[in-house]
Subunit: 399 residues, 2 copies
Amino acid sequence: MGKALIIGAGGVASVAIHKCCQNPEVFEEICIASRTVSKCEAIKNKLAGGRTKIHTAQLDADNTDMVIDLIKSFRPDIVMNLALPYQDLSIMDACLATGVDYVDTANYEPPDTPKFEYKWQWAYREKYKQAGITGLLGSGFDPGVTGVFCAYAQKHYFDEIHYIDIVDANAGDHGYPFATNFNPEINIREVTAKGRYFDNGAWIETAPLSVKKVYDLPEIGPKNIYLMYHEELESLAIHIKGIKRIRFWMTFSDNYLNHLRVLQNVGMTSIEPIDFEGHSIIPLQFLKAVLPDPASLGPRTKGKTNIGCIIQGLKDGKPRTYYVYNVCVHEECYAEVGSQAISYTTGVPAMIGAMLTLKGIWKKPGVFNVEEFDPDPFMEALNQYGLPWQEDFSPTLLD
Amino acid sequence: MGKALIIGAGGVASVAIHKCCQNPEVFEEICIASRTVSKCEAIKNKLAGGRTKIHTAQLDADNTDMVIDLIKSFRPDIVMNLALPYQDLSIMDACLATGVDYVDTANYEPPDTPKFEYKWQWAYREKYKQAGITGLLGSGFDPGVTGVFCAYAQKHYFDEIHYIDIVDANAGDHGYPFATNFNPEINIREVTAKGRYFDNGAWIETAPLSVKKVYDLPEIGPKNIYLMYHEELESLAIHIKGIKRIRFWMTFSDNYLNHLRVLQNVGMTSIEPIDFEGHSIIPLQFLKAVLPDPASLGPRTKGKTNIGCIIQGLKDGKPRTYYVYNVCVHEECYAEVGSQAISYTTGVPAMIGAMLTLKGIWKKPGVFNVEEFDPDPFMEALNQYGLPWQEDFSPTLLD
């Protein structure tokens, strides 16, 4: 059916590429492009012999001209941006210049003042519309599947949705006393950021990790969940008409928070270089070197993730509650594609979003969030491609 | 009266030197010797203008010949070893070669396999006796004052001592989330070492920090205390005749232990070098560089220490209990001598031990621990030189 240019060769990209190759009728040809071409080659070598034809390319995605050149030579039908969110705009510009559809999994952040906000990407709406191309934003899990879940609830079960609580739980255990899935800097930013939620037309800020509840998650059990800001709140607060309150919750174990706090206390998370034995060294960089390599966690991680939406509203004038969620098993993901559930839950929806665009099902001129399209084909594809979802019509509610 | 060669120019040495200068009738002339002569000069400059005449010298105390040469040129009446315990034997050898009395505050440890044990220094007993010189071991606070407390109890209050519990509490607060008074390596060794105590003729080992009680200390209040091994247990188990059980307890706050454990968990306390940006770096050394400089703690530390001995036994056939302790205030020590209580409580008894030897009161040929001398003049000097002690004849006992 088509050709996809996939930018990025990390964990999420690797999962998405595996999934594209499971779907060769749609992804006949792909090109994996990254700053480090050897990483692209490594993925290609793992998947060689399948029906999807795989190319690789060296690419600095910050450089729009270089992206344009690659698009012109490979001539993809869609560009899948699975690299850093700092490069969203340079890649969107290249798609605009060449008239190619675009999909990503996380919103643009300015590299110097990282901030979750859609305004920079939403500014492309009119230009994409004029150019007749589709820009699909945030087609990962959260954002991504969480927005599709909300749209699905809206379409099938509710006349009005009033309350949404998105709960993201990772109960995986890698067996180390402490390790981070990503860059520890991002983990630290997460737990030190203010919480924020939408309530009756206003955004309410909360002190970092100050709002904590216990929620008993299906297949995982009771966990501490903390109110956080998360980027899909911004678009869902607009696109779910009549919404009164939407919040996002994430699990952190006491052990994880304790380790992060101690490391912060002693100065090991600082990004201010110190002079050590004549070398200028950033403590956080040294900490990363001492901690287990995130890449080593995959084969060790056991247990499950559970991410879903607890929704309250009205149907036919009566109150209704609905919980839709996916449970993903780290070790099963690793066995299937060589990555654990954190990358898997993001990479699979990226493939699905690209597939629906390629097939013309989720294709219209402009820039869109996932909840603006028909959720049904996406929900069906989740069941088909490894992220089956479950429903509960009388869940415990968060007050 | 005499001349003292003082080896060392750290916190403890600085306190002892201040105290010598408060006592110029006894310490007419001193020489401060250290590897880094600028540290000696700095102490000298602070104390210039007093009646004690101060000299300085550069010295590598590991080198017995160099110590001998310095003794021969300065001609002291006593050598006060306030440097690292790794140098005890090289300095004792130099005293033996030159016929000069010796005093220290901590027992010798082999640098490669550090271990608290008196055997290496007790091996000098006969040689010192033959040479007609005095070696006074462990004249700090613990060991030191704790041994004098026990000897004083034995002399005045008991026919038989059956149980001794030494309790060392530091309730000082430096205002940092975490910092170490000394080298963090020594702190880590302390909390990861097995506990050990003497019970009915045998030494009992306990897992690190596995025996914990709460004790309500005078002027400090209730604290978690942990059973540890400490070097004075070895000599007191021998010198307090008829002793059935002797234990040592130290306070650690939950916060302190938590920080040390996390740093250990993530590998920051490791002494195995790692390769970082082309440099070989020892994580523990880097941690030291990130933590507050121990020297910066002095002016910030508020609060008290309380170190003492809880003693049970018989007098005139009746059970008797006795608690003797010193309370020291960090900020008062700093105001007086520019060091907080940790150095103060060790430096003052070092001066007192040297003073009693110089005066001929604690002088006899051989090598001795403090509890082998008459405790009364030492107890009197503690009151006079800043470490007044208090007694309680009905203390709470540790079971």
